[in-house]
């Protein structure tokens, strides 16, 4: 028995003390030897880092079969089974680069993304806010990007030869039916949403995914902020109004309630205006935003707002010489947007989004009353499943429903018309990475309109290839459908979808905070709705016989490197476009398009002054407009558009920001063409009046204060 115990003890002793195994070798990658890699035996403390030459050597007491591992950030972990028996082991390890979606090639054809998620992005959320001239308007900031044309008398987005109705805005996946404020004809509008609500923006000027439809030219995808960081109270004092917002957090959610009142009267008493105001523009807005985490991965968001705005202006009645009429506008806009995103199990993700809009415009002009109402609902469900990290499918279903009604009330009678269109949609899309250098996205979208009683199928394909570490080419092709405009659908349902085909090829190179991007595109329009007679109320007046094209080149250059604390971008676009649509008698250059568009934006941080200064210059070549007194359609030309804008943000204290901005500093006289009488006067001449902006310059002075327990949260994100 004793012997047995001794043998046992000896064995144990031997097990712990006997023969070490020396493991040595070298770790390499495609780019050479790799220092600093972690080489170790799985589940033990035995291991070592590779030296400056990528070599390693360590000893282990362990015996038998074990897993040798080698790891390094950004590379796939290497695993090899080895047999430890005392004799030295030499291993040559080759690490391959891990597939990382954030660093892999991305489809950039037609797309400008502003977020801090991907490092390769051209723009950041802050850019959307600090661009001078935009004065806190999302759409204003986008108009410094190539592919857009500034229409000062509109303020809306005009993209690559497309009309403003061809662009759609989505918030957290669901459609915004009325993204712009309401306004009288030829008066500029702004976006309804504060750019600080959003953590990321994707602006696609063509070739976008099958997930988005009902847009012939572009989509703007806005993603709202996640959870706020702390309880706070925000106060804003501006030359045009006041606002207050309070945020309250709980463990898994937060609520923000805000109220603002704007009135331009005091401002317009001081600064001379080109318009004759009777009631100065004013608006009141109340909004509530809710965030709630659901489960481990889910997030529910709800945003609800009501805005009431009004003004009255006096305009000359061009049909009656010397007669002036009041134009009174009252707008009420109710908007709800909600979304829920979550993982379902290990791999599935689900995103449900819904929005509801009820927009009422009440217009009184001369003796006429005119009421417009738009009620829109959008519901969407998207599922996605990654078969691997290189192959993902996404599919979903959507329902759009909108009811649009108009009513003319004169002294004598009242004429009303309305329509309801419900569109059902299904889409599916696959994204395939052949490698981290090559990606393809293929998808199709099916739509059925209940009102038009028509269906469409829209294939989309795009791809990107990384030609070098920092450069890539990207291409996109697709069909895009949209309903004809609401004003036509009021009188007829015998119309088809309008269609645009996009071909886009782009090249992008980013290196050391410098980015260059060029894009060429061709767009073919077909089936555009036309109004062929003066009798707009007759369904037979409308056909889908319109068509058109747009082709052009966009160039973008951004440099954050060359000037210390400075950052600038320059964009240029050339657009060649013609179309025959709406009431055009022939194919012509449309009035919203400029051949040459140029924008330069410069921003500088003055650390010692705690100031962020932005300066920008925009130029658009002359646009055309139609003079009914001339034989030539769209034969008149405006002067070019020019504007130099400055803004200055100053951090007075941690929680106090002072902001000042001036647009069109040099007071350049903008020319937006003429508006004309609809009937000729006694001499047979259509009388005219020039279309001008509300004022040559716009000044804004604002102060934003954040109060929180710690006094540490400032409000750079409230500049408007």
């Amino acid at each position: 028995m004793k012997t047995l115990i001794i043998i046992l003890l000896l064995t144990i002793l031997q097990m712990t003390v006997s023969g070490q195994t020396v493991i040595s070798g070298i770790v390499t990658t495609a780019e050479g030897n790799l220092p600093g890699a972690n080489v170790y035996l799985e589940g033990t403390y035995d291991g070592v880092s590779t030296n400056a030459n990528g070599e390693f050597s360590f000893k282990t007491q362990k015996k038998g079969k074990m897993m040798l591992k080698a790891s390094f950030v950004g590379f796939e972990t290497f695993t090899k089974e080895i047999e430890l028996n005392g004799s030295p082991i030499h291993v040559e390890i080759r690490l391959t680069e891990a597939f990382n979606k954030l660093e892999a090639v991305t489809i950039t054809a037609g797309t400008f993304e502003a977020s801090d998620k991907k490092r390769a992005n051209i723009l950041t959320p802050l850019d959307m806010i600090t661009t001078a001239g935009a004065v806190g308007d999302v759409y204003g900031a986008l108009q410094t990007l190539p592919g857009t044309t500034t229409n000062g008398e509109s303020g809306k987005l005009f993209v690559k030869g497309g009309d403003s109705e061809e662009s759609q805005t989505y918030i957290d996946g669901s459609l915004v039916y009325t993204p712009y404020s309401s306004s009288a004809p030829n008066m500029s509008v702004r976006g309804r949403f504060n750019p600080f609500m959003f953590k990321g923006t994707i602006f696609s000027t063509g070739g976008y995914s099958a997930e988005y439809g009902q847009a012939l030219s572009s989509v703007l995808l806005l993603n709202t902020n996640d959870m706020p960081v702390e309880d706070q109270l925000d106060l804003s004092f501006m030359t045009v109004g006041l606002g207050v917002a309070g945020t309250r957090l709980w463990k898994t959610g937060a609520v923000t309630a805000s109220l603002s009142y704007n009135n331009l009267a005091p401002y317009m008493w001081v600064v001379p205006q080109n318009y004759n105001w009777v009631d100065y523009p004013s608006n009141t807005e109340g909004a509530v935003s809710l965030r709630q985490k659901t489960g481990k991965t889910g997030m529910l968001k709800l945003y609800s707002s009501y805005t009431s705005s009004k003004y009255t202006i006096t305009q000359e009645d061009l049909n009656h010489a010397g007669k002036y009429n009041d134009y009174n506008l009252e707008n009420g806009n109710y908007f709800v947007n909600t979304s829920w995103k979550s993982n379902l199990g290990e791999k599935w993700t689900i995103a449900i989004a819904a929005s509801f809009t009820n927009n009422n415009d009440n217009i009184a002009y001369d003796t006429l009353n005119f009421k417009k109402q738009l009620r829109g609902t959008h519901i969407k469900n998207v599922m996605s499943y990654p078969f691997s990290n290189k192959f993902t499918i996404r599919f979903g279903a959507e329902l759009f429903s909108k009811t649009y009604s108009q009513q003319y009330i004169t002294v004598a009678n009242s004429i009303g018309s309305h329509f309801t269109n419900t569109t059902s949609v299904a889409f599916a899309e696959a994204e395939v990475y052949a490698s981290s250098k090559f990606v393809t996205r293929i998808g199709t979208r099916f739509e059925y309109s209940g009102y038009l009683q028509r269906a469409n199928a829209a294939p989309r394909i795009s791809a990107a290839y990384k030609v070098s570490k920092n450069a890539q080419i990207s291409a996109a092709y697709g069909w895009f459908y949209q309903d004809p405009i609401n004003d036509y659908l009021l009188y007829t349902s015998y119309l088809k979808f309008e269609r645009a085909d996009h071909y886009t090829l782009s090249f992008q190179q980013s290196q050391n905070d410098r980015t260059v991007r060029t894009e060429i595109y061709y767009k073919n329009y077909s089936g555009l709705a036309k109004l062929n007679s003066e009798a707009f109320y007759l369904p037979g007046s409308y056909t889908n016989t319109g068509s058109g094209y747009a082709k052009g080149v966009d160039i973008f250059w951004r440099d954050k490197k060359t000037i210390k604390n400075g950052d600038y971008w320059v964009s240029y676009s050339y657009i060649d476009t013609k179309r025959n649509y709406r009431n055009y008698p022939e194919t012509a250059v449309p009035g919203f398009s400029s051949t040459h568009n140029f924008a330069a934006v410069y921003k500088h941080w003055f650390g010692s002054l705690r100031s962020y200064v932005s300066l920008n210059y925009k130029y658009s070549s002359p646009r055309v407009y139609n003079n009914p007194n001339s034989q030539v359609f769209n034969g008149e030309h405006t002067k070019p558009y020019r504007s130099t804008d400055v803004s200055w943000s100053f951090l007075l204290k941690q929680n106090v920001i002072i902001y000042a901005a001036v647009t069109n500093v040099f007071g350049y006289k903008q020319d937006y063409g003429n508006s004309y009488a609809t009937i000729p006067d006694a001499e047979g001449v259509y009388r005219s009046a020039p279309i001008v902006p509300g004022a040559d310059r716009f000044f804004l002075l604002a102060c934003f204060i954040t109060l929180s327990k710690k006094g540490e949260a400032n409000q750079v994100d409230k500049i408007e």
Partner: protein, 216 residues
């Protein structure tokens, strides 16, 4: 005889048990020695590798994750220019935070370090990230002090944040000198739970106090 055998086996198994926890302490002690002598990115990389190895073996201990992320935060601070690289180091550090918060959700030291981590994110691009990450950093250090109001590292990080923002906003950071002196004087009264627990920071506070005295 059987009893002897059983007792031998029992003794042996306790021995190995002890040696296992000793092995953790030994490995940590060795790695901490390496960590204390780190001077360059590659030093921290090697130390970080050690801690990641220990973390992978001892799945219940938050300390290896703590030091692992500490190493990567230091690497990000030391990386001279490449913003993408700084962020990729911090991405590594972030993974460890997720793990250690799961293991020890009420540990003050973790949030103190997390505050430093958010400051490191901020430093990569102060203009873009200033607002978001200064708030997150303040929140994390608040949490650390909420869990343990006496934690000197949390106090130090808060002090440094406050001095930084005072400088930024053109105020005299000297108003915090008495706080720094007090912190230094009371530093050793804080009892570190075990030799493996975080115990850094005194030197940094001493540097601040010296700068205060030199009138900087």
């Amino acid at each position: 005889m059987k009893t002897i055998l059983i007792s031998i086996v029992l003794i042996f198994s306790t021995l190995t048990g002890i040696s296992q926890s000793n092995e953790f302490a030994g490995a940590m002690g060795e790695a901490l020695g390496q960590f204390a002598n780190c001077k360059s990115i590659s030093d921290y990389q090697a130390a970080g590798n050690r801690f990641s190895l220990i973390a992978g073996t001892e799945k219940k201990e938050w300390l290896p994750y703590y030091y692992h992320s500490f190493c990567y935060i230091m690497m990000s601070f030391m990386e001279p220019g490449d913003a993408a690289k700084k962020d990729s180091y911090l991405d590594e550090a972030e993974k460890s935070f997720t793990k250690m918060i799961e293991l020890a959700p009420k540990e003050s030291e973790i949030y103190a370090l997390q505050s430093m981590f958010y400051s490191a994110r901020l430093v990569v691009n102060p203009m873009e990230r200033g607002q978001k990450y200064s708030a997150l950093s303040a929140q994390a250090v608040g949490m650390a002090l909420g869990l343990d109001a006496t934690n000197p590292r949390a106090k130090f990080i808060k002090l440094r944040n406050d001095m930084g923002s005072a400088q930024f906003f053109g105020r005299d950071a000297k108003e915090y000198c008495p706080d720094a002196e007090e912190l230094l004087a009371s530093w050793d009264t804080y009892k570190v739970k075990s030799p493996l627990y975080p115990n850094w920071g005194k030197d940094q506070v001493a540097t601040i106090v010296n700068e205060c005295k030199a009138g900087k």
